[in-house]
Amino acid sequence: MEVDEEMEVDENVKKVMFVMRKAPHGSIYSYEGLETVLITAAYEQDMTMVFIGDGVFALVKGQDTTDIGIKGFIKTYGALEHYDVEKIYVDRVSMEERGLAADDFAIDVEVKEAEEIAAIMEEQHATIPY
């Protein structure tokens, strides 16, 4: 098994993928997911984030939550690179269905096809839904 070979290389580093599927302000999931990514990244794990469905709305630049009385967290995404979280993927179909393009996002992302996302999911030690 591929996974076993990898674990022999460094059994302390796990491949963990966070699957982000919720819009940012209607529930706490999106924010909690980001927080959890940052916490997990502090343990130097091999992290991936993928944004699918309404999850892609979390990355849209220009969000201003001042008038809905909550603290926005779009700026927090900027911290990901400092935690070496560099594998940030967006599902192309979800993005296009919502009238978005890669330059609408506040951070650099890689736009991926469903088949590519599936293959990356299969490689993970764990996938965490948010």
Partner: protein
Amino acid sequence: MLHMVNKSPFTSSAMDEAARIAAKGAPILLIEDGVYAARAGTSYEPKLAEIIKDHPVYALAPDLKARAVGKLIDGVTQVDYAGFVDLVEKDKTHSWL
């Protein structure tokens, strides 16, 4: 990887997204309100019929029974709790909540 869906396809995009992203051949297990996707004669049936071509689809029998889901779309396999455990222990899982 086993993909688990616990939301009705009539209120949530979870089933559609799971089916679209899941690797070809990866099994999908419907639990809780997810089992409504398996009901024959709904507007979702054509979609599920397409999904079944690429993925084995299982539905948890106690959840079907509790909801009186009735006749299932051809090709859906019912599993009891023991069957659920068999599926889960075979592979990694992802829940589309």
